[in-house]
């Protein structure tokens, strides 16, 4: 399985579990809001993704990439996230690290600037 499929699979299972619906009913091309996930939920679910991937992600990831397909594609193609390597790694402690530094280092490109209003 490639990285995109792994991430998609994880998101489908996670959302199915949290929402109490069958994984088969979730389409990766549908906006997540269709499944009753509201704006703040999709921010909190990023926290779980961070734990799983062991990497810091922008909390508005699912606002800017609102389908499972788009989010997974973005993570792998643009942000260079690779779940197979990082999933087991110790999550990084990010408390005191300045945002800019943390994100630049991981190749977020212009994304952070776009969503933080600068």
């Amino acid at each position: 399985m490639n990285s995109i499929d792994t991430i998609q699979g994880w998101l489908v299972n996670q959302i199915a579990k949290q929402l109490g619906i069958k994984a088969e009913t979730i389409k990766v091309t549908e906006p997540l809001t269709r499944y009753g996930l509201d704006s703040i939920d999709s921010v909190t679910i990023v926290g779980d993704m961070e734990d799983w991937l062991g990497a810091e992600l922008p909390s508005t990831l699912l606002w800017d990439y609102p389908t499972i397909e788009k989010a997974a594609k973005y993570l792998v193609d643009e942000a260079g996230v690779s779940p197979a390597e990082t999933a087991t790694a110790e999550p990084v402690a990010v408390t005191s690290k300045p945002k800019e530094e943390a994100t630049q280092g991981k190749g977020w490109g212009g994304l952070w600037n776009k969503i933080s209003g600068s």
Partner: protein, 602 residues
């Protein structure tokens, strides 16, 4: 002069406003009650504050103002609010300028800064709609893109200062498909739009803050240029949520001012009023009620100063802390006002009998603070969604990077330390990296243990502080277990039990804030503060919300707290851990409001 610089503005403002008990002074109780009776906007007061140049303290220095830090800000808002919440809230709508300082272009910052400073201008925040209340994404206000700008259509209601403001921060839908990126925020300068396409709804009559300019705003095919958009298109919700982190935390200052007056005027009554040959204050039960109110104010003080400083030291954690403070401080102090009303007896319900009836006005005005800018349930909701993640990060961070954690806690809570400049871009929608305040409990306990060698400390008091702090840690562990076992839900159908867990989190958070405030300021806030009885009593008070009183250490003697309360009253100082100087009250021997200063019988 007060040695701590962050209180200079508050003290200077107090001095110039004068004694609120003197009808002739600006913002006197008499004046604000008269205005309230007439439901009249406090224009004279607002003009006076502009002349005093208080608005400069809302504008960061790099944008041409005098603002440097939120703990300074909190203190002067307390000063306004102890006299009149109506005027305080009206003037302080200017704190919404933070949206522009955070996300505006240089030109927008320049426009707003000179509007506030040179034109005595003010703003309003137009988010709510009649049909949608707390549901911001459900709003109907549309901003349709056209050449060079947008066409606004829709209505916002109820909006404070809607009619008198020159700038409205309007949240409107720019993407008809909906979703979290469908809203954008606009800084609408009313002087630059066509008045035919813009109108106000009639004044809304309210129970409290009666003189407020409450109405609504209607846009009817109103063109606004693109330069009025704040941040990128689709940034509206994100900016609104980050802006709320600031304004919600600052709302605590309104409540603290109100609680100060409620306690002060009731204390005045209790000291004067004679029954059964003694004063009301001499009776143990009313004295206990007032002492507990004073303790609650001190508890809230630690949280409010903490978050005020935390904006500079731990901005990425403020999503949690501002929700805690907006819920905990405002509802606790609302309860304080209600509790002391009993001591005031029938006079709490009279409009003329005591201090011009200021108590009743405080009671009415103050009851909106926990509701506006995000109600208590909305804040608890924002918090409970983060609880699972907070529990996980606490486990993950346990025992790690302790030096950095200790340094952050010291800068946040030690009131003598300089603060790094606030950077609004570091605010996060959800907490990043865990919550230092609860993460640091082990460090706090280790510091407390070391104090056992300090011969200046009463060992019984220290024993209580350590035991109770340990109970805070145990209760935090219990809560972590409950959170881990709870089933997470999405959306707005959360279990009431999760709301209870969020409330418990707030109590533990407040308790930890008290402990650090003490640890880091023992050498510079005076003897009463350093001795720590107030802390032992406060922690016991907080923990009695979570455990039966019989399972807590017994209540220690509170006479030093009683004496401190009376000292602050007699010397006209703020009821606070930093009892800064208020305007001196004048003795009016001939009037019925005479205040015989209480002689302490020690």
């Amino acid at each position: 002069m007060q040695p701590l610089k962050q209180f200079w503005v508050a003290e200077a403002l107090e001095k110039d406003l004068g004694d609120p008990g003197n009808p002739e002074s600006m913002m006197s109780f008499k004046q604000v009650i008269d205005l309230d009776e007439k439901e009249e906007f406090p224009q004279e007061i607002i003009d006076w504050l502009y002349n005093w140049k208080l608005q400069h303290y809302y504008i960061p220095t790099e944008c041409g103002g005098e603002f440097t830090r939120f703990d300074e800000f909190i203190s002067f808002v307390r000063v306004l609010s102890r006299r009149d919440q109506t005027a305080g809230i009206a003037f302080t709508t200017m704190f919404w300028s933070y949206l522009v300082w955070m996300a505006g272009t240089d030109e927008q910052k320049q426009i707003l800064s000179s509007f506030m400073k040179d034109a005595n201008g003010t703003m309003c925040l137009a988010y709510s709609e009649k049909a949608h209340g707390s549901d911001l994404l459900g709003g109907d206000m549309q901003a349709t893109k056209v050449d060079g700008g947008y066409i606004l259509n829709g209505e916002k209601w109820p909006i404070n200062r809607a009619t008198r403001s020159g700038v409205a921060f309007v949240l409107a839908r720019t993407d008809p498909d909906g979703g979290p990126r469908s809203l954008s925020l606009f800084m609408v300068e009313k002087s630059k739009i066509n008045p035919d396409n813009f109108s106000n709804l009639p004044k809304i009559l309210t129970h409290g803050i009666r003189g407020s300019d409450m109405s609504g705003i209607c846009f009817d095919n109103c063109f606004i240029p693109e330069s009025m958009r704040l941040g990128a298109e689709g940034m509206g919700l994100e900016l609104a949520l980050k802006g709320f982190q600031i304004t919600r935390a600052l709302c605590a200052a309104f409540s603290q001012g109100a609680a100060d007056t409620a306690l002060r005027t009731t204390l005045k009554f209790a000291i004067e009023r004679k029954l059964y040959g003694k004063t009301v204050f001499d009776m143990p039960q009313p004295r206990r009620t007032l002492t507990d109110a004073f303790l609650d104010i001190l508890i809230c003080d630690c949280s409010t100063f903490g978050v005020g400083r935390g904006f500079s030291t731990m901005p990425e954690q403020i999503s949690v802390w501002s929700a805690v403070v907006k819920y905990f401080v405002t509802t606790t102090l609302e309860t304080v006002v209600n509790n002391v009303s009993v001591v005031l007896g029938s006079r709490f319900y009279m409009r003329e009998a005591h201090d011009w009836g200021i108590f009743q006005k405080v009671l009415r005005d103050n009851s909106i603070i926990s509701m506006f800018d995000g109600s208590s349930v909305v804040n608890l909701h924002a918090l409970l969604l983060q609880l699972r993640q907070l529990t996980k990060s606490r486990a993950r961070n346990a025992g790690k990077n302790l030096e950095a954690l200790e340094a952050r806690l010291a800068t946040t809570f030690d009131l003598t330390q300089n603060l790094p400049a606030f950077n609004g871009k570091k605010l996060e929608l959800v907490n990043r990296g865990g919550d230092d305040v609860l993460q640091g409990l082990d460090l706090a306990l280790a510091s407390l243990e070391k104090l056992k060698t300090d011969s200046n400390l009463n060992p019984d008091t220290l024993y209580q502080i350590i035991t109770l702090t340990d109970i805070v840690r145990e209760e935090l562990n219990n809560l972590d277990v409950k959170i881990t076992e709870s089933t997470f839900q999405f959306g707005h159908e959360q279990d009431p039990e999760l709301f209870d867990m969020a409330k418990q989190y707030c109590i533990l958070h407040a308790a930890a804030a008290c402990v650090y405030t003490w640890i880091y300021n023992r050498n510079h806030l005076g003897e009463f503060f350093a001795n720590g009885e107030w802390l032992a009593l406060s922690l016991r008070r907080l923990m009695s919300n979570l455990r039966p009183a019989t399972s807590l250490p017994g209540r220690i003697d509170d006479s030093c707290v009683v004496q401190e309360m009376i000292r602050l009253y007699n010397e006209d100082r703020m009821f606070s851990i930093v009892p800064f100087q208020l305007a001196k009250s004048q003795l009016q021997e001939t009037t019925t409001d005479a205040t015989p200063k209480l002689q302490l019988q020690t």
